[in-house]
């Protein structure tokens, strides 16, 4: 009931500003993140940033929005979220690389709207961490009101979720005593699962290569049987699919880096990587990024050495670093303040702090040619806040994706009031039909 009410009123939301045509946002303090601050205007044309500067010439038919002296920043990129995923753990097998988030994207998940309202415009939607090799993730733009297909970030490099540590070995015993046991039960077993999987993938890859070679020679041979589990792993070996690996402890981080190096591929990001600061040098040398929490700790043993200085230490070690939410574990509406916390913990600069939730995660996902900073030619994914976005007193006012306004705080407030009125009207209608005690419980 709630969901239906909610959706009906928001279905019209994306029609606020047309993507085609031009929009001028004037009277703004523009935080580009990569190229300093510019006070002036930003012009959007055909969904892209066409110009920004103190003085910007706009076409006569451009829609003008007065930012009222507020701040513009790039749309936030969350490198690890479970928003809009109807299911996340195929928890029956340790290697479930054949399953795909794209198949279970739920565009009506209200978390998408809430994240959008907090300035998040792109999310890397991942599987859970029940399996050592979880499944294929999906980078989405938070186009609330659109279909699942329309949310997918076209052209984003495909990815795959790995996981190490307590979560993946949980099914191996311990607190689960009595349940059916599943390999692995130790961090040793986790390494073995990774190596076995890629050993298999490599053999499959050779088989496929050999087939291609023989076909090229004009031989008539049967193709090898298509393996949906190993296909994405071969893509990893070929550098076509990015590995995002959930991990906590420094030993398992190092293990994974070495296992990947053994098979000749790179880990793109260490997800959470709460002890990454202990092996930051090794991570930098391998070339992996770290996408971590701002200050979560102590909720389990492997999080007991987590420190809020992790992002700062990794950044100083030259590691490409970002902050993520793991939403709903932490919320996307807190990403701005998560970034602000690095001003205290590690004393990062404003630009460094903002880069942790914009350009850095965009680089990690290899979509930084499109999003992550306010630069001419990039997608017009833009957030307007009333105060400096790293102040906790700031509120997100408007959010644009590809130049289209997908969130507007004023409109949200208006619709919320309408929704409340409609809901009350329905409750009034129901009143005479049910006895008072029943009515209270009906919700």
């Amino acid at each position: 009931m709630n969901r239906r009410l909610f959706l009906s009123s928001l279905a019209l939301a994306p029609s606020l500003a047309a993507a085609a045509g031009a929009t001028l946002i004037k009277n703004a303090k523009i935080l580009t993140v990569t190229k300093g601050r510019v006070d002036g205007s930003l012009l959007i044309r055909d969904g892209r940033i066409a110009a920004l500067g103190a003085e910007v010439l706009a076409p006569a038919d451009a829609v003008t929005i007065d930012a009222g002296g507020g701040y513009l920043m790039p749309g936030i990129v969350d490198c690890h979220a479970h928003v809009g995923a109807d299911a996340i753990n195929e928890g029956t097998i340790s290697v479930s690389s054949m399953v795909r988030i794209e198949d279970v994207l739920a565009p009506d998940d209200v978390q998408i709207y809430r994240g959008l309202a907090a300035g998040v415009t792109t999310s890397n939607v991942l599987h859970g961490s029940a399996n050592t090799i979880g499944g294929q993730c999906s980078v989405v733009k938070m186009r609330w009101g659109r279909s699942a297909a329309q949310m997918v970030f076209a052209g984003a490099r495909p990815g795959i979720k790995f996981a190490l540590g307590e979560n993946v070995k949980r099914a191996g015993g311990g607190t689960n005593l009595g349940a059916a046991l599943r390999y692995p039960a130790t961090r040793m077993g986790v390494e073995d699962v990774v190596r076995e999987a890629f050993n298999e993938a490599r053999a499959y890859q050779r088989q496929r290569d050999e087939y291609q070679t023989r076909v090229a020679k004009g031989e008539r041979v049967l193709p090898p049987r298509r393996d949906w589990k190993l296909d994405p792993l071969v893509e990893v070996l070929e550098g076509k699919r990015l590995v995002h690996a959930h991990c906590y402890r420094s030993d398992e981080i190092l293990m994974l880096l070495r296992a990947a190096e053994e098979f000749g591929f790179r880990i793109r990001t260490l997800q959470h990587g709460l002890e990454a600061y202990k092996v930051a040098k090794e991570i930098a040398k391998h070339g992996a990024g770290v996408s971590t929490f701002a200050d979560s700790w102590s909720y389990k043993i492997e999080a007991y050495d987590a420190i809020p200085y992790n992002a700062a230490l990794c950044l100083r070690a030259g590691v490409l670093t970002s902050l993520n939410t793991d939403a709903p574990v932490t919320q996307q509406r807190h990403l701005l303040q998560d970034a602000a916390k690095t001003l205290r913990y590690g004393q990062l600069t404003d630009d460094e702090a903002l880069s942790l939730i914009t350009i850095n995660p965009a680089r990690q996902l290899m979509i930084d040619d499109r999003v992550g900073s306010l630069e001419v030619g990039k997608d017009a994914d833009i957030v307007l806040t009333d105060k400096h976005p790293l102040s906790l007193y700031a509120k997100v006012q408007k959010v644009f994706i590809d130049g289209e306004m997908f969130f507007n705080r004023e409109q949200d407030a208006r619709e919320r009031a309408e929704r409340a009125a409609r809901r009350q009207a329905l409750i009034e209608k129901l009143k005479p039909a049910a006895p008072p005690a029943q009515k209270k419980g009906a919700r």
């Binding site: 709630n2 969901r3 009410l5 909610f6 209200v110 709207y113 809430r114 309202a117 907090a118 307590e166 600061y277 202990k278 930051a280 040098k281 200050d295 979560s296 700790w297 102590s298 909720y299 389990k300 043993i301 007991y304 050495d305 420190i307 809020p308 200085y309 230490l313 100083r316 070690a317 709903p328 919320q331 509406r333 807190h334 303040q337 602000a340 916390k341 001003l343 205290r344 913990y345 590690g346 004393q347 790293l390 102040s391 906790l392 007193y393 700031a394 509120k395 949200d412 919320r416 929704r419 809901r423 005690a437 029943q438 209270k440 419980g441 009906a442």
Partner: protein, 420 residues
């Protein structure tokens, strides 16, 4: 008797450690009055001697130059489990929930582990005291107000029994929790169980009153009952019941229960409180806010829920305080307050709820919560607004004693910084 000895021990312990000092050039934010820039604040022993633009510095006081810095009273977390829990997933480190439905005799004070790593981590954000609240059953036990400094729990204790934690039987049909999965139970079934449990709760209070009457006129064979003894301050209105009531029905029940049993209550963790604001204000019932970092309750709730709740309470004239309900995140309490300011609460009201407002609710406004002369010197020295993460907390004093802001996290930071 024991209580008196404890209080005496506390007073002497503090005096032994404190060093007399004066902050000079500091902006004083007394909370109880307007700020005074470029002032002197003097601490003698464990108490604030006073402050002012030209407040005289007595002999033998160490001078701390604090030009450009700000001094505030230490902040109070009005609902945490600090010292009762160390690692979330490890059962052996949890001392929050006892077995059984009625445990008023349990005291969190004696189970607070002074060596918990969470205590110095929380201090680093400017928190100097916390109400440590138990849970479990309908009456979870006595919540103690603890200083976040001390070699032992005795030294940490400010008020051994500041509130009696309670949760009334639930009428919620929604079942959540990992073990059971999410789902709904039929209302009729929930209602039947609820009526039975409410009957038990009423019976327990009746028994307590009967005990109270018997004790007033002890006949032959009167035996002390520890469980009932613990209820006497509640029945006498000395100790408030801290009733955790998130939903509308739970809040309605709590309000009705307090009226029927004629007990003093503090409402905690409230979410759907709007229908009762007028009544709560009229009855002067204080509120401990819910953890404001929870998700909105319903799909169609405001995107700002519950961050926008404090502003509405303030507008209704209801006294409130902030609580983390947690061990991992008390350090984010000032940030919760800042978020509430972003949603329309005045900055002044936010700071007050973290300090003097909390002290008033827990009956210690004569000792804590503001920088008035004669109060315990629980102070934080900052380089700016203590609610903003951009600000650094520079120094802290608890009962006039300088307390280290180092903790597990700063230690690991310093240790591994050397490896870069």
């Amino acid at each position: 008797m024991n209580r008196l000895m404890l209080a005496a021990a506390l007073a002497t312990a503090a005096l032994v450690h404190a060093e007399n000092f004066a902050l000079r050039g500091v902006t004083v934010h007394p909370i109880s009055a307007a700020e005074v820039p470029n002032a002197v604040l003097v601490v003698t022993g464990d108490r604030i001697a006073g402050f002012g633009a030209k407040f005289p510095i007595p002999k033998g006081h160490k001078i701390v130059e604090a030009k450009g810095l700000h001094v505030y009273p230490g902040m109070i977390d009005s609902a945490s489990v600090l010292g009762l829990s160390e690692i979330g997933s490890v059962r052996e480190t949890q001392d929050i929930e006892e077995l059984g439905d009625f445990n008023p005799q349990l005291r969190t004070m004696i189970a607070v582990n002074p060596g918990s790593e969470h205590i110095p981590v929380s201090r680093a954000s400017g928190i100097t005291a916390s109400l440590v609240v138990p849970a479990g059953g309908f009456i979870g036990g006595q919540a103690a107000l603890m200083h976040l400094d001390g070699w032992t729990w005795e030294e940490m204790t400010v008020v051994p029994s500041a509130a009696m934690q309670m949760r009334l039987p639930s009428q919620e049909t929604t079942v959540t929790g990992r073990a059971f999965g999410a789902g709904r139970r039929p209302y009729a079934e929930v209602r039947r169980r609820y009526e039975e449990q409410m009957q038990q709760v009423r019976l327990f209070f009746e028994q307590a009153r009967a005990y109270q009457a018997r004790k007033a006129n002890p006949g032959l064979g009167f035996k002390t009952n520890l469980r009932m003894e613990a209820m006497l301050p509640v029945l006498a209105g000395k100790t408030p019941l801290m009733i955790v009531a998130p939903r509308e029905r739970a809040i309605r029940d709590a309000l009705a229960f307090a009226e029927r049993e004629r007990v003093r209550i503090v409402l905690a963790g409230v979410r759907e409180v709007d229908p009762f604001l007028e009544q709560i204000a009229r009855r002067k019932i204080p509120i401990v806010l819910p953890d404001l970092y929870q998700v909105p309750l319903e799909e169609d709730a405001s995107i700002d829920d519950p961050l926008d709740l404090p502003a509405r309470l303030a507008k209704a004239g209801i006294p409130f305080a902030f609580g983390s309900y947690n061990v991992e995140r008390p350090r984010n309490l000032p940030f919760q307050a800042a978020n509430a300011v972003g949603q329309g609460l005045s900055h002044e009201a936010a700071l007050r709820a973290l300090t003097l407002g909390a002290a008033e609710i827990w009956g210690v406004a004569d000792r804590l919560g503001s920088l008035d002369a004669g109060k315990l010197a629980d102070l934080i020295l900052t380089d700016g607004d203590p609610l903003e993460p951009r600000t650094q907390i520079r120094q802290m004093w608890i009962q006039g004693k300088a307390v280290s802001l180092d903790n597990r996290h700063t230690r690991l930071y310093e240790q591994y910084r050397k490896r870069l």
